[in-house]
Structures are given as structure tokens and as C-alpha cells.
């Protein structure tokens, strides 16, 4: 397949890693923002090729991980209602709410379905006019355009039995919050390539200038990531701080104008709570007033839900890059992908699950490990 195997070439990977080793003169901390990048780094063992000076900090860009527990609880409540078909992306089904997850609602008789696109939920709404179809619309700027399109279509089709539980979040305000944090250690960012394919990268230019931080738009294959890291190190070593596009086969400066127009039509900015982090101003999207009829939060009675995080879960610190997953007392013991205390152990993009699944060479002693502190 084009654009896949050529970006996993071991020889080129080793050459890029050698370039990085030859360039680096002192320790640097780089954050890959997106959970998909974290997954790929640990899946392919990219961090094992890097010199010890380069530390990768895993950012808050896993939509499953940052969706607040209050919203998960609302999803559980709606999914358990009679006559509701609750549609979600697959990896939300095991995310723990205050009590249970969508799988447990399904096993008790709730009609919970995994869909691959919000447009599948539209089809379900058309096919089941006597039932309420609710789509769990989470995700960053990448997944938002399809959700916007689905809502737009629902209005055009006059579907009265379709609604969306919206919890969209945005990358630039998260970067801003990380840079403003007094405990911040991040010195450069790998910006999420897919987010930029929608939004472009012009949004990141003021961020790079304001915080004097290099930002490299980076893809997801091993060579993409190594090239992104190499460019970030080059900037750090030379003291520059610009936005670079290392994913130009997909990303342009302006992004996808049609998608942006659809987003602007359906959504407006709002403050959002990020699970484990707290409220970040202007960091999400909600439905505009004219699309309010499609808001599941107003359509269903959801008062009286009491949400509570596990007191043992430290995913907030992990998501902010101040704690490595394996440094958490519960990691691999009380908290495993089978019995997750927090969302970061559920999603395969979540830093804790990625460490658990791909990084557990710690005990081997003979090899460089993925779990470098």
C-alpha cells in the first residue's frame, strides 16, 4: 500500500536516529500531543532508538482519556434508557464512569452499538424512527467535522430522533495551558498531524512565538515521528522556535476549508473540562443555538447524576507530562487494561495502556526500555 510501508523502513529509521544522536548535545523534553502518536511510538519502539538525552512526554491528545467522567456518566445514563440506541466509537465502551462502563450497560440490556462514523448513526436513526438514536460525539478537531456533518444532515433530513452527546476538545488551548503551567517541562511539541490536516497549522504560529517553543507538525508512521523529533531537536539545539510542517503530504498551512466551514456552521467555542486536568478556557466546541434540538444533554433528563473519579487514579499528572505511567503506584497492579482505574489505561492511545501493552520490558534488564523515567 502506498504511503505505508515506505514510512516503516528500518534502514531509514536507523539513519534518522543516528542524525538525532549526532545533533543532540544536552537533555531535551519533547511532547507528542496526540494519543495516536503515543501509540505509534510505543507500538514500533521508536523511543528505544533515541539517545538518552531525548525524553518524550506523552500529551493529553487522547480523546477517550480526556473526556470528563461527568460526561461518561451521562452517556451511561442515556444508554440505559429504554428506546434509546446509543452509538459510540469502539474504544469508549470500556472507559470507566463513576460506576461501570458502556459494556456493562450493554450487558444489562442497553442497546449500545459500536459505529465507525457518526453517519452510521444517522442511518440507524432513519431505520428506527420510533427509537431515539444518540451518538457519543467526542474527539479533537479530527473527528469533529464528521460529527458536524452528521448533525447538519440530521437537520436537513428533519430527523427528530437523532441527537449527539457532544464533548469536543481542541489542541491549541491545551498547548497553551501546558506552557502556562508552573510545573511545565515541555521544551518542544510534535503537533498532531491529523488535527492539522483539518485546521491547518497557522493556529500554532502565535503559540510558538508567545512561548518561544518549537512546534513540528508530525505524522504517525515511524519515519514521520523520527523526522518530527529530528526537526524539533535541530530547532532546540539552534535556539529557534518556529512552526515546521514535517507532514506536508497531508497537511497544508490553511487546512481543509470545507471542513472548517462545516465546523463553524454547527459548533461554537466553549470552556471544557478535561478529565484529570480540569477546566481549560475556550478548549472545546459545543452546538450552536440553532442546532440545540440535537443536543442530547438538553433532550434527556440527566439531573441527579453524582460523578466521582477513582481517588487512586493519577491520570491527570500523566496527561500533563509530570508523571510517567509506570511511576504511578497503581500501574500494572490495581490498574491494568483489564481493571482500569482511569481512561488512560483503557484506550490503546492512552499513555498508561500504551506503556502497559508495549513498554513492559522493564523487567528484562538486558534491553533499553520503553519506560524511561
Amino acid at each position: 500500500m502506498k504511503y505505508l510501508s515506505e514510512f516503516r523502513n528500518g534502514e531509514v529509521a536507523r539513519k534518522l536516529a543516528a542524525d538525532i544522536r549526532a545533533t543532540v548535545t544536552r537533555p531535551w523534553a519533547i511532547m507528542e500531543v496526540c494519543g495516536g502518536q503515543t501509540h505509534s511510538i510505543l507500538r514500533h519502539g521508536i523511543d528505544q532508538l533515541l539517545p538518552p538525552e531525548v525524553e518524550l512526554i506523552h500529551g493529553p491528545g487522547c480523546p477517550v482519556c480526556v473526556t470528563p467522567v461527568e460526561l461518561i456518566d451521562k452517556a451511561l445514563a442515556i444508554a440505559a434508557m429504554p428506546d434509546v440506541i446509543f452509538c459510540s466509537f469502539g474504544d469508549m465502551l470500556r472507559v470507566p464512569g463513576t460506576s461501570g462502563d458502556l459494556f456493562s450497560v450493554k450487558s444489562r440490556g442497553g442497546d449500545v452499538r459500536v459505529v465507525y462514523s457518526p453517519l452510521d448513526a444517522i442511518q440507524l436513526a432513519k431505520a428506527n424512527p420510533t427509537r431515539s438514536v444518540v451518538f457519543f460525539g467526542i474527539g479533537f478537531e479530527t473527528t469533529a467535522p464528521a460529527n458536524a456533518l452528521a448533525i447538519h444532515q440530521a437537520r436537513r433530513l428533519g430527523l427528530t430522533n437523532f441527537s449527539v452527546l457532544v464533548s469536543h476538545v481542541l489542541v491549541p488551548p491545551a498547548i497553551e495551558a501546558i506552557m502556562r503551567s508552573p510545573t511545565n517541562r515541555v521544551q518542544a511539541f510534535l503537533a498532531a498531524g491529523h488535527v492539522c490536516s483539518v485546521m491547518g497549522y497557522h493556529q500554532y504560529v502565535p503559540l510558538a512565538e508567545r512561548h518561544r517553543v518549537p512546534i513540528v507538525v508530525t505524522g504517525f508512521e515511524p519515519l514521520d515521528l523520527l523526522d518530527g523529533i529530528r526537526r524539533a531537536i535541530l530547532q532546540l539545539e539552534s535556539g529557534t522556535y518556529t512552526v515546521e510542517n514535517a507532514y506536508s503530504r497531508v497537511v497544508t498551512r490553511e487546512g481543509n476549508r470545507a471542513a472548517q466551514a462545516m465546523l463553524a456552521e454547527v459548533f461554537e467555542e466553549t470552556d471544557r473540562t478535561w478529565r484529570g486536568i480540569g477546566v481549560i478556557p475556550h478548549s472545546g466546541w459545543k452546538l450552536r443555538d440553532k442546532y440545540r434540538d440535537f443536543d442530547a444533554e438538553t433532550r434527556f433528563p440527566l439531573s441527579g447524576i453524582r460523578s466521582q473519579e477513582s481517588p487512586r487514579c493519577r491520570s491527570g499528572e500523566v496527561l500533563q507530562g509530570t508523571l510517567k505511567p509506570h511511576q504511578c503506584e497503581a500501574f500494572g497492579t490495581a490498574c491494568t487494561p483489564r481493571t482500569p482505574l482511569g481512561a488512560t489505561m483503557v484506550s490503546s492511545e492512552g499513555a498508561c495502556a500504551a506503556y502497559y501493552n508495549y513498554g513492559r520490558l522493564l523487567d528484562l534488564g538486558t534491553e533499553r526500555t520503553a519506560c524511561r523515567a
Binding site: 500500500m1 505505508l4 516503516r8 523502513n9 528500518g10 529509521a13 536507523r14 495516536g36 501509540h39 510505543l42 507500538r43 514500533h44 519502539g45 521508536i46 523511543d47 528505544q48 532508538l49 480523546p63 477517550v64 466509537f89 469502539g90 474504544d91 469508549m92 465502551l93 470500556r94 459500536v114 465507525y116 452510521d120 467526542i138 474527539g139 479533537f140 479530527t142 473527528t143 491529523h194 515511524p222 487494561p337 483489564r338 484506550s347 490503546s348 492511545e349 502497559y356 501493552n357 508495549y358 513498554g359 513492559r360 520490558l361 523487567d363 528484562l364 538486558t366 534491553e367 520503553a370
Partner: protein, 351 residues
């Protein structure tokens, strides 16, 4: 006296030529007998079955016997490359074959949902007959039950199988030794992706076909070339990851595999990348994993490649004294990762 007009008269005898399964098909009466007589017996035809006894009586077999059973509940019932009937025969044949047995006889139990199309049942039974003939086994006994509409999913099949184990043959993870080679007969993930793409209505550029096949022919050839194979397994649910983890943990040794040696079809790889799935965790229905002494590995792979079901056979790794009970993969870029036992179903990633 007026003439009686018989033209529009109807006979009060109950209908028997239903196009769908009705509850009576499982009632043990006339309808059940007709299903056996007109559908199952003509398809599976053999002496033991045609005696229509409560149990099939088969000729004596000298030596050890292997007995296995498996239930098949796949949805959809028909998919690219096969149907539930192929799986029900091949799956049980393969369970016998990877145990070192030569499959002889199968039983087949059907749980049918009221309303299920008899034409579809015929298609399934024909595929079972074809699969049994290909594998060289006989379906000698069976049963049919019908459940009320809404209490089943069309058609469930349970098959049991009996096979003969040649003298001296002993397979099991306890025979695995450090240095042994890990051998795979072909590409990973085809069955799981074939099912997923039709179940979820996902359209990819290339249609992926299930790899369902009976492996006893290939495995017989493998034993001819290498009688001291340590252990065999068909990596079905949980995929290669589950199989290798079971080997490693039960043998008490480590297993190291090389990701770029593992055959994965481009269409499967593309679908996995798109959906965020790992081909090593996806079910196969016509592949075998073998652990064999390193000295015999090349010879074994050569012989496997001569067989239609082993054309992509490859040595994918080795058993090690390092990292006991763990499976570690060398990635394409030269790093390593631990291959864990999957927890449950793989969940497609959000983006």
C-alpha cells in the same frame, strides 16, 4: 344433481413444504424426519449416517483416539470466502489435526431459529459436505433443534470430531526447548477482517476473504518431514498473540518473533491501520503455528510451501531463555515490544 367442483377445494392436510424453518422441524416428528431425509442425508451421505440410528456405529480403530467439540455462532452466516458451515467442519478438523490426530468422523448439531430460510440451511449444509469431503472426514451423526423466533441468531452449529493419533506422537508446550524455531503457515488476520468488513458494512478497495480451510493435509505433510514437531496450534480467537503467549507461559520459556517476517496481506494491513487493530490479535481459521527443532525448521518450511495452504510459510522467530513466559516482537525499525495476551475483543480506535 349438481356436479361438485373440486377445482378450488383445499386439502386439510398440514403443509410440509415450508420455505422457512418452523418449530415442527425440531419436534422429532414427520417434519424433522423429512429434514434429515431430504436435506442432511443426501448432502452428507455415508453408511454410518444412513443407518439413521440414535448413534453412529463406526468400524474399530486401533490405538489412541482424540475427541473434540466446538460451537459456531458466527455473524453474518455467509461471508467472503465461506460460511458457518465451512467453519463448523474446518474448525473441528483443525482442532483434531493440531492435536496430532488424523480426523475421521464428525457429528453436527444444529440449533435453528424459527423462520430461518431453508434455502440458506441447504447452502450451509452443502458447504459442510464439501468441506468434509475436502478434509476426508465423514459426518456420521447429528441433531436438529428449533428455537422460537427471537431466541436464536438464525443458525448455530456444534460439531464434535473423533480422530486417530498415530503411535508415539506427542505434542504439547512442555516439549518446547530454547532454540526451537517458531513457524507460521501463512498470512495473519484474513478471517477476522473478512468477517468485520461484512458485519460492519466497511468497504475497502480489496475484498478480504476468510482463510477457512482444513489443515489436516498440510499438517500430515509436516509430520512426514519433521516427526518431532513440539507443538501445533491454529491461531483462531485471540490470533497469533494468544497462541504464542499460551506456548510461552506453559513452556516457561520466552518467545521472540520478528514482525517483518510475519506474513500479513496488504488488504488486511490497510484495514488494521485504518481501524487501529493489530493483525497479530485477529482470528484466523486456516493457519497453523508450529514450534519445531531449529535443525528441521528450514526443511519443514520448504515442505509447507509446496502445499497449497502453506505457500507463505515462514520462520517467524525462536524460543529463548531470555524473558521467560513473555512474547517479545522485534519491530520493523529494530526496536522491541511485548506481545500481550489480548483482554477481550479488540476495540476499533477513535482516530
Amino acid at each position: 344433481m349438481s356436479r361438485v367442483n373440486f377445482e378450488n377445494a383445499t386439502c386439510p392436510v398440514p403443509r410440509r413444504d415450508y420455505p422457512q424453518v418452523v418449530l415442527g422441524h425440531g419436534g422429532g416428528g414427520k417434519l424433522s424426519a423429512e429434514l434429515v431425509e431430504h436435506l442432511f442425508v443426501p448432502a452428507f451421505r455415508n453408511a454410518a449416517l444412513e443407518a439413521l440410528g440414535d448413534a453412529a456405529i463406526v468400524p474399530p480403530v486401533a490405538g489412541r483416539l482424540a475427541l473434540t467439540t466446538d460451537a459456531y455462532v458466527v455473524r453474518p452466516l455467509f461471508f467472503p470466502g465461506g460460511c458457518i458451515g465451512d467453519l463448523a467442519v474446518n474448525g473441528t478438523v483443525n482442532d483434531l489435526a493440531v492435536s496430532g490426530a488424523e480426523p475421521l468422523y464428525l457429528s453436527a448439531s444444529f440449533i435453528l431459529e424459527e423462520g430461518f430460510s431453508l434455502a440458506d440451511l441447504q447452502r450451509i449444509v452443502d458447504r459442510m459436505a464439501h468441506a468434509a469431503a475436502t478434509a476426508g472426514v465423514q459426518i456420521v451423526t447429528g441433531d436438529t433443534k428449533v428455537v422460537e423466533r427471537g431466541h436464536g441468531d438464525g443458525c448455530f452449529i456444534t460439531t464434535a470430531g473423533v480422530g486417530w493419533v498415530p503411535p508415539g506422537r506427542s505434542l504439547g508446550p512442555e516439549h518446547i526447548r530454547p532454540g526451537d524455531a517458531v513457524i507460521l503457515s501463512g498470512s495473519m488476520g484474513n478471517h477476522g477482517i473478512a468477517i468485520l468488513s461484512v458485519r460492519e458494512g466497511l468497504e475497502f478497495e480489496t475484498v478480504t476473504h476468510s482463510d477457512t480451510a482444513a489443515l489436516n493435509g498440510l499438517i500430515a505433510r509436516m509430520f512426514e518431514v519433521c516427526p518431532d514437531i513440539r507443538v501445533l496450534r491454529d491461531p483462531t480467537r485471540g490470533g497469533l498473540a494468544a497462541t504464542l503467549n499460551e506456548f510461552a507461559s506453559r513452556a516457561g520459556w520466552g518467545i521472540e518473533i520478528h514482525e517483518n517476517q510475519i506474513p500479513v496481506d496488504e488488504s488486511v494491513r490497510a484495514a488494521c491501520d485504518l481501524l487501529g487493530l493489530d493483525p497479530l490479535l485477529i482470528a484466523n481459521e486456516g493457519k497453523v503455528v508450529a514450534i519445531a527443532p531449529a535443525a528441521a525448521a528450514e526443511r519443514l518450511v520448504e515442505a509447507m510451501r509446496q502445499h497449497p495452504l502453506g505457500q507463505q510459510a515462514a520462520i517467524i522467530g525462536q524460543v529463548t531463555q531470555q524473558h521467560p513466559t513473555m512474547v517479545v516482537a522485534r519491530t520493523a525499525i529494530g526496536a522491541s515490544r511485548v506481545i500481550l495476551l489480548p483482554i477481550g475483543e479488540q476495540l476499533p480506535r477513535i482516530c
